[in-house]
């Protein structure tokens, strides 16, 4: 799985979560926007963390050197 596929999965999860929050907890436009903000922020945070770790491992300058045991 490449970078973009997983990113797409994150986006999909974000969209699904936003939609389900909208459908399950519909409490007026201002609360819905609040929920949407929370979900988007959480998704962006999680995606960022994953993306950083993934990108760092794409073309590593250091390779794992096993312990001799």
């Amino acid at each position: 799985m490449g970078f973009w596929v997983t990113t797409l999965i994150f986006i999909l999860i974000g969209v699904v979560a936003s939609l389900s929050a909208r459908l399950c907890f519909n409490r007026g436009p201002s609360t819905n926007l609040f929920h949407l903000t929370l979900i988007i922020t959480a998704t962006v945070c999680c995606w960022m963390m994953w993306a950083i770790v993934y990108l760092a491992q794409m073309k590593p300058l250091i390779v794992p050197i096993l312990n001799e045991e």
Partner: protein
């Protein structure tokens, strides 16, 4: 990157983003319905009364007497509660809405208190005579056993002394005397005696003093009592001795009695005659049993009385506290004697206007008032209080923000993003999904037992963790996620997302521990490759990764903060802040650290070996030099020159224009005011006053504004560097956490396992558990929490948050319990 949550302009409203719009309202309430009105408003709990009598002392206020009355009733209730505590009765905790009248309750409390005091006094008296009788009984029994032997030895002693005395007196007639004594011993020795009880610890001193006072001319017999005796005077349990003192002569008697008194020894009469003794014992036994039944009846009566009270106690207590708060509130209103009405002023959310008016109407109808209350909105320049409508989930996060400073009225609330970013930053430092699961289980216990625990009184620390249960839940959920990314479960790795991307260079795998493995597939799809765990190059790799991650996340969060300052400027229609604060700040931060972030990502994507430190340092030192082997992309030198220029330009851009433009705006406003004042000739004096007041407030001190802007600019420019560095704590804490947990796992659990001994293994497991819970789950949670707190309070919030508002405290009955 992180700014996606802005919500597209500031126009649509969002929960929690801005505090509720408030207005200052004035209520004019007829005096006959005032009490009921305030009580209904207390039920509603959406109005914060202003104290209109701030200059008056508590005694000068209108309802001082009623407050005194309530205070007295509260005292009586406390007395009753104390009595119930002594009787081991707890007030039933059913939530009651008071139905009784205050006046009725006052009389009732008076009666109850009088009755309780009387019952107590009676009981005390009876108890006292009961323990006196009990002591008497002891004296009768103990002294009776040894009275005669003591008496005879006392008599012998006396004779001896007398014999000595007479021996000294006359030498002629020793034999005769002896004869006499042999024949009539009782006639010779007429001894008086005193009996009673003396506390055991004083008995030695008692004996010594008696001996000295009578010059040895006495005989003391002490018999210890095995069990402690209730002292009639103090009511305490004391270890005592029964004593009998024999003495001769009136003077010795007086001395003995005085000494008894001084030592707190209770004296009891004792009969020499055995028949009288038996009679006495019978009588005392009878009296004792009579007293016992009387006392039991009294206690039973008191307990049934208290039990009856305990059913209603909470209701009464609530009523008294409510009434007291109502009168306190009424005291804040200013009274208009001529018009027989009270004037109230207070803040309330705009959405509550209808509810308040409805409450006023109901109060007027229910108290059969002829005139209704008047509700009107006042216009003021005062800053309204800050009020967020929070629920049990958001309240703890809002408290985190409020602990730093309450938001200024209607400014963007960092609480919205804190709900996600706070647990996220915590989790970066606490990335281990095993520990995350432990935290989650612990907090789920609180959340499931929420109903039960919230009505209970908890200890300080439990109370705090219980209050933050949803924060901890979010922290645990994010730690599970980051733990999966770090691929750590109590510092053990799993191949959850497929095989490692690395393999040996050849079939023999000979150089795996010298030259290392090579990459054979795409990067590990989710999180860290498990092969890194335990390898020799683990630390260099993780350090480089976590350091860069800290910078990337820090830059993203600081940008979010700057973006929020844009929304604030937009909301308050402050164009100056957009053009001369937001834009230069954004440019400055991103031309330096935004560029660094881009470099990091480019380096990762291209696999370049460029030295980023070198690039950043020489971007300032010699920006025109060729980059050489540190070049990451074409045109990098030119881009760096542009960015450097932009950063340099944005500093004076932040500093200079804003104060000058503010001065210009102020002057224009002043001129505008002058024109209107000239045009309208018929302004009445009040409006003039108002104008003068507002003018006085807006005195424009250019030097002050300029210095303020200078400080702000310096703070931002230096802060951009130091705040970015401050985010490196994410790296440090995360490293410390993973190292500690791997030490506990390898040096305790695996070491104990290696001994192949069940006993050592059990000890190892116990030590591992305690270390994990104590150090990792408690201490590390605390330290990661504090560091996340700091990153929010300082690095994130100083980009946009003023935090100089004050909180909205409505008058409400639901918050009564928390006051005391």
């Amino acid at each position: 990157m992180d700014g996606g949550g802005g919500g597209g302009g500031c126009c649509p409203t969002m929960d929690l983003m801005r505090s509720e719009p408030m207005h200052l309202v004035q209520l004019i309430i007829p005096i006959e319905s005032a009490h009921r009105t305030v009580s209904y408003l207390g039920d509603l709990g959406l109005l914060q009364f202003k104290d209109l009598n701030a200059d008056k002392s508590p005694f000068q206020r209108t309802y001082a007497n009623q407050i005194k009355k309530c205070g007295e009733m509260a005292r009586k209730l406390r007395f009753i509660k104390e009595q119930m505590g002594k009787a081991d009765l707890l007030p039933s905790t059913k939530p009651a809405t008071p139905t009784i009248e205050l006046d009725y309750l006052e009389i009732k409390l008076e009666e109850i208190e009088a009755e309780l005091i009387e019952v107590n006094a009676n009981n005390e008296r009876l108890q006292r005579s009961y323990s006196e009788l009990k002591e008497y009984m002891l004296v009768l029994q103990k002294a009776g056993e040894s009275f005669y032997s003591a008496q005879s030895s006392a008599a012998a002693q006396q004779r001896e002394i007398e014999a000595q005395y007479t021996n000294d007196g006359s030498i002629d007639s020793p034999l005769l005397l002896e004869q006499e004594m042999m024949t009539e011993p009782s006639k010779q020795v007429k001894l008086g005696f005193v009996s009673g009880l003396v506390p055991k610890e004083k008995s030695m001193a008692f004996e010594r003093i008696l001996f000295r006072a009578t010059r040895g001319n006495m005989f003391l017999k002490q018999i210890p009592i095995e069990e402690p005796v209730t002292d009639p005077v103090s009511g305490e349990q004391v270890e005592k001795n029964v004593f009998i003192v024999f003495y001769s002569g009136e003077r010795a008697k007086a001395k003995t009695l005085k000494i008894c008194e001084a030592f707190g020894a209770n004296r009891y009469p004792f009969m020499e005659d055995i028949g009288k003794q038996m009679h006495m014992i019978d009588e005392v036994t009878r009296k004792l049993s009579e007293l016992k039944t009387t006392i039991d009846m009294g206690l039973l009566h008191r307990n049934s009385l208290l039990r009856k009270i305990s059913e209603q106690f909470e209701e009464w207590d609530l009523l008294v506290r409510m009434e007291k708060s109502i009168y306190h509130t009424l005291n804040m209103l200013s009274i208009d004697v001529t018009r027989k009405c009270l004037v109230a002023e207070g803040w309330s959310p705009i959405y509550a206007a209808n509810q308040i008016q409805d409450a006023l109407r109901r109060a007027t109808i229910d108290s059969n008032s002829q005139v209704g209350s008047i509700f009107q909105i006042l216009h003021t320049k005062e800053m309204p209080p800050t009020y967020f409508r929070i629920n049990k989930f958001t309240s703890a996060f809002q408290e985190i923000v409020d602990a730093y400073g309450v938001a200024r009225y209607q400014e963007a609330n960092p609480g919205v993003y804190t709900i996600v970013t706070f647990p996220f930053l915590f989790a970066i430092m606490f990335g281990d999904w095993g520990h995350g699961l432990c935290l989650l289980l612990a907090t789920l216990y609180y959340i499931i037992k929420e109903k039960k625990l919230s009505s209970q009184k908890l200890g300080d620390i439990t109370e705090m963790t219980f209050g933050g249960r949803y924060v901890i839940m979010m922290m645990a959920l994010f730690s599970i996620y980051t733990g999966l990314v770090y691929n750590e479960f109590f510092s053990v790795t799993f191949n959850l997302f497929g095989p490692s991307a690395y393999a040996c260079r050849d079939a023999s795998c000979g150089d795996a521990s010298t030259a290392g493995l090579i990459k054979v597939r795409d990067a590990y799809p989710f999180g860290l490759d498990p092969i890194w765990h335990g390898s020799r190059s683990e630390l260099p790799f993780l350090n480089s990764l976590k350091m860069k991650m800290s910078i990337l996340i820090g830059v993203a969060q600081m940008n979010l903060g700057i973006v929020l300052s844009y929304f604030n400027a937009l909301f308050f229609r402050n164009g100056l802040n957009v053009w001369y604060q937001f834009i230069p700040q954004l440019i400055f931060l991103n031309s330096l650290f935004g560029y660094l972030s881009v470099l990091i990502i480019v380096k990762w994507c291209t696999g370049s070996k460029a030295d980023l430190y070198h690039v950043m340092i020489y971007m300032f030192l010699s920006p025109t030099d060729e980059l050489g082997e540190n070049q990451l992309f074409v045109g990098q030198r030119e881009l760096q020159l542009v960015l450097l220029l932009l950063a340099l330009v944005s500093v004076p851009w932040m500093l200079l224009p804003k104060p000058f433009l503010e001065r210009k705006q102020h002057q224009e406003r002043l001129q505008g005011q002058a024109y209107t004042a000239l045009r309208s000739d018929d302004i009445d004096s009040i409006e003039m006053d108002a104008n003068h007041d507002s003018h006085g407030h807006e005195e424009f001190e250019f030097s002050e504004v300029f210095v303020h802007q200078l400080i702000h600019t310096i703070e931002f420019v230096l802060g951009a560097v130091s705040n970015t560095a401050s985010y490196l704590r994410l790296w440090a804490l995360s490293l410390a956490h993973s190292e500690l947990s791997s030490v506990f796992y390898e040096k305790v659990l695996l070491l104990a396992w290696g001994f192949n001994n069940v006993f050592i293994l059990i000890i190892g497991i116990i030590v591992f558990l305690f270390a994990t819970v104590g150090v990792l789950l408690v201490m590390e949670t605390l330290s990661a929490f504090l560091h996340a707190l700091r990153l929010h309070w300082v690095e994130f919030q100083n980009k946009f948050y003023e935090g100089d508002g004050y909180k909205f405290y409505p008058f409400s009955f639901t918050s009564l319990g928390e006051d005391e």
